[in-house]
């Protein structure tokens, strides 16, 4: 899984280097910048394109992301003394190790990779969740009082409170006092929702079905923070609530999602009362497996009437 993505990364970088070469041959500087941006957004755009292409739950098996050649993440160390050992270390971590150097600086390739990943992280924060993904699961959107992304970053408190319009929508459209309430939010990474929702959510639904749990009306919160679940709890009074929210992007991935779960969410809850499964993405916690496990946790919360540190798993 990791290797596949790394293979993709290498491919993109190779492509990028090739294109840069081509571009500089054809025309001088300005086009270089656009070439870079297009390439950078390529992997991100892919799931969106797929979701729009197949809105019906047809056999969508052909969404394999990478070409099927043997993916390999290689070191840039020239003539390593113990190549197998180095490869083993590489496969044990997604961290940037074995990158070699030129003088006291990283190689250009390493720098490009780093800047690309950083850019992807920034894009994830400023991006928006694709409407097609939300439509696929019939999620309607409510907003918090975040106003705009700049403000969202500066004022976490405003991301915890829904707008009056939002509150009204929940009251009109959602089932009250459900056993399980599912909420999705972009949080700090819209890309995480785009990338993982289509795997996590249906697997979670299946799990609820297996446990015989009933679920209220799921919806999407734009500009949400983790504690927005408290406000939702006040309005809908579910027994348990799970919030699938995009995580603060890092340099390993910008597509990581968390599931925060809570028994009887309400205002004034402390963080220790929340249970979380984090790092849900392709290279981390498997999305389908996470979805299935969230169902187990929710059923245990209902059984024990507790969440967070009080929950015995």
């Amino acid at each position: 899984m990791e290797q596949q993505l790394d293979f993709l990364v290498d491919k993109v970088v190779a492509e990028l280097q090739k294109k840069l070469g081509e571009v500089s041959e054809q025309a001088p500087s300005p086009k270089t910048e656009t070439g870079l941006i297009q390439l950078r957004s390529e992997p991100k755009a892919e799931p969106v394109a797929n979701a729009t292409a197949a809105p019906t739950p047809a056999p969508v098996v052909n969404e394999q992301p990478a070409p099927s050649k043997e993916p390999e993440r290689t070191t840039h160390v020239p003539n390593p003394k113990y190549k197998e050992g180095l490869d083993e270390l590489l496969s044990s971590t997604p961290a940037r190790i074995g990158v070699w150097r030129t003088g006291v600086r990283p190689l250009t390739k390493t720098m490009l990779e780093l800047r690309r990943d950083h850019a992807a992280a920034v894009d994830a924060v400023y991006g928006e969740v694709s409407q097609a993904v939300l439509d696929q699961f019939s999620l309607f959107t409510v907003e918090t009082q975040y106003d705009n992304t700049e403000n969202y970053l500066k004022r976490p408190d405003m991301g915890r409170i829904l707008t009056e319009e939002g509150v009204r929508m929940l009251q009109e459209r959602c089932q009250k006092k459900p056993q399980v309430q599912i909420v999705v939010s972009d949080g700090l990474s819209a890309a995480a929702v785009d990338a993982n929702l289509k795997d996590v959510l249906p697997s979670l639904m299946d799990s609820l079905k297996s446990y015989g749990l009933t679920c209220g009306t799921p919806f999407f919160i734009k500009g949400g923070r983790v504690a927005s679940m408290d406000h939702v709890g006040e309005i809908l009074e579910p027994e348990v609530l799970v919030l699938l929210i995009g995580e603060r992007p890092g340099l390993v991935t910008a597509h990581s999602m968390s599931a925060y779960m809570c028994y009887r969410p309400r205002k004034g809850m402390v963080e220790s009362e929340r249970t979380v499964i984090s790092n849900i993405h392709r290279q981390g916690t498997s999305p389908v497996e996470a979805g299935a496990h969230i169902g187990t946790i929710l059923s245990k919360m209902l059984e024990q009437k507790a969440s967070g540190v009080k929950l015995v798993l």
């Binding site: 969508v60 098996v61 052909n62 969404e63 394999q64 697997s203 299946d206 498997s286 497996e289 299935a292």
Partner: protein, 486 residues
């Protein structure tokens, strides 16, 4: 629950000796509280090691079940352990004993009498691997470049296992052992195993049965035997030495960097010098001499390998069986606790490529053909005909999960309608999701057991123990052969 101990027993019934150990294994949570639970065996402690008993035999080719039962009962008593405390472990019948006529029966009998989830095994390959683990060769291989081979020399056979970077890469077994030639205290040859006759002839050596043998002559045989084995192991010569090999040969030469010798003969290597026939025959066979000549080879350093002292000698196999045979499955799994434990399930391996996964029609064909193979190989049963091990799935999306579970369940129900339980083993962490998807489709007919993160190969057998704390499943994979894979 952050950690837990389970007790595990190992019993080794060999050609000349029988021993037993009790160990405890610590299961620790390896993942943070923010991730899916993941447990591993983080520590293995030896609690009790029995004395080395002579293996009780009735006549020449029958194992004395009651005799072994009595030894074990006494040892369990001494170790102050009751059967109900034993959660895992293995009984292994090793060496030539495994071909004794009631071996199969004994091993199952012992497994039943030794605790809830004690596995019955036999097979030279597994024995070699377990001995290698017990002798510390597996651990050593993780700390070095290149290959280490451990050869466990017992009474009837010598089992060699090659390790590289913590994995067993090959095994080979020889007719080399202390009891192949038996002697009276005066040096009269009482028995020569027919298994080495061909090799003796090829080497131009003769051993007169029923007559006295000279010390020099016996030393010559022991030296030649030891060297032939070392020749084969290091790849120096394989024509004549190959006559000693039991079962499949090594497929290709494996360059060896380090060597350890365990087993009874391994212990005898550090014994006192053997200078005359009385020294040699002190156990009624030529074992002490074999150990002594190997020690001299080590000192001479003729072979281009680094000889190391093993962690264990005579108890290497039993320690491997007791302490190293158990693994733990991934902790997010789909099981029905009342269906466990299950034992001796053969593995059927479904290896998928990305092209097959991307194409529903090809996936269907693959599943169909593997089920046909399963139908041919295994008898129809209302239980579990086989465990389907799925590999090759990199990233599993929900859509792929649906297609896969659809194909697997629908065809399983059509091909094996009488089977009441379906067992699936995934390589990657996806067992709970797949198990759930299968169960939603099958609705109890068949029941689904789906575990993951256990590496199995075609030809393996697997045992699944009762869950510990709900979802931690002890697993014993019995690798029966390395060289018979297609």
């Amino acid at each position: 629950m952050d950690e837990q101990w389970i007790q595990s027993v190992g019993i080794d019934v060999g050609t000349s000796t029988t021993k037993m150990i009790v160990s405890r294994l610590r299961l620790g949570r390896m993942s943070s509280t923010f991730s899916l639970p993941r447990y591993q065996i983080v520590e293995r402690q030896l609690l009790y090691a029995s004395e080395v008993h002579s293996t009780p035999l009735i006549g020449f080719d029958e194992i004395d079940a009651d005799g072994i039962g009595a030894i074990l009962a006494a040892e369990y008593d001494k170790a102050q352990i009751s059967l109900s405390q034993i959660k895992s472990g293995a009984v292994i019948i090793t060496g030539e004993t495994a071909s004794k006529k009631n071996a199969q029966h004994i091993v199952h009998l012992l497994a039943e009498r030794s605790g809830d989830f004690v596995v019955a095994t036999a097979g030279a390959d597994l024995e070699g691997v377990l001995a290698g683990k017990g002798a510390g060769a597996e651990k050593r291989s993780q700390a070095m470049q290149g290959v280490i081979v451990n050869v466990d020399i017992g009474g009837g056979t010598a089992n060699a296992a090659y390790f590289q970077r913590g994995r067993a890469i090959a095994t080979v077994t020889f007719h080399v052992g202390g009891r192949l030639i038996r002697l009276s205290p005066q040096g009269v040859v009482q028995y020569v195993s027919p298994n080495i006759q061909q090799w003796l002839t090829a080497k131009g050596l003769r051993i007169p049965v029923g007559q006295e043998i000279g010390f020099a002559q016996l030393t010559e045989v022991a030296e030649q035997l030891g060297r032939s084995m070392l020749d084969y192991l290091t790849g120096k010569e394989r024509q004549v030495s190959g006559l000693l090999v039991v079962g499949p040969h090594l497929r290709d030469a494996i360059p060896v960097d380090e060597l350890t010798v365990s087993g009874g003969v391994g212990l005898l290597m550090s014994g006192p010098p053997v200078r005359n026939i009385a020294d040699a025959s002190r156990y009624g066979d030529f074992g002490p001499l074999l150990g002594y000549v190997l020690q001299q080879e080590r000192e001479k350093g003729t072979y281009p390998v680094q000889w190391l002292d093993p962690d264990q000698t005579v108890r290497a196999t039993v320690i491997g069986a007791g302490m190293q045979s158990t693994e733990i499955s991934g902790s997010t799994v789909h099981i029905k606790p009342e269906l466990l434990p299950i034992k001796n399930i053969p593995i059927l391996k479904l290896e998928l490529t990305e092209e097959q996964l991307a194409d529903a029609t090809r996936l269907r064909q693959e599943v169909a053909s593997i089920y046909q193979l399963g139908e041919r190989l295994f008898e129809k049963t209302t239980g579990i005909p086989f465990a389907l091990a799925i590999s090759g799935i990199g990233y599993c999306s929900y859509a792929l999960l649906q297609t896969l579970s659809q194909e697997l369940s629908e065809q399983y129900r059509a091909t094996f309608p009488e089977s009441q339980t379906m067992v699936v083993i995934c390589e990657t962490d996806m067992a709970k999701a797949l198990g759930q998807a299968l169960a939603l489709r099958c609705k109890g007919a068949p029941e689904i057991i789906c575990i993951d993160q256990v590496r199995v190969e075609y030809g393996d057998y697997i045992d699944l123990g009762e869950p510990i704390s709900g979802t931690i499943i002890p697993v014993v994979v019995k690798t029966l052969a390395f060289d018979e894979r297609p």
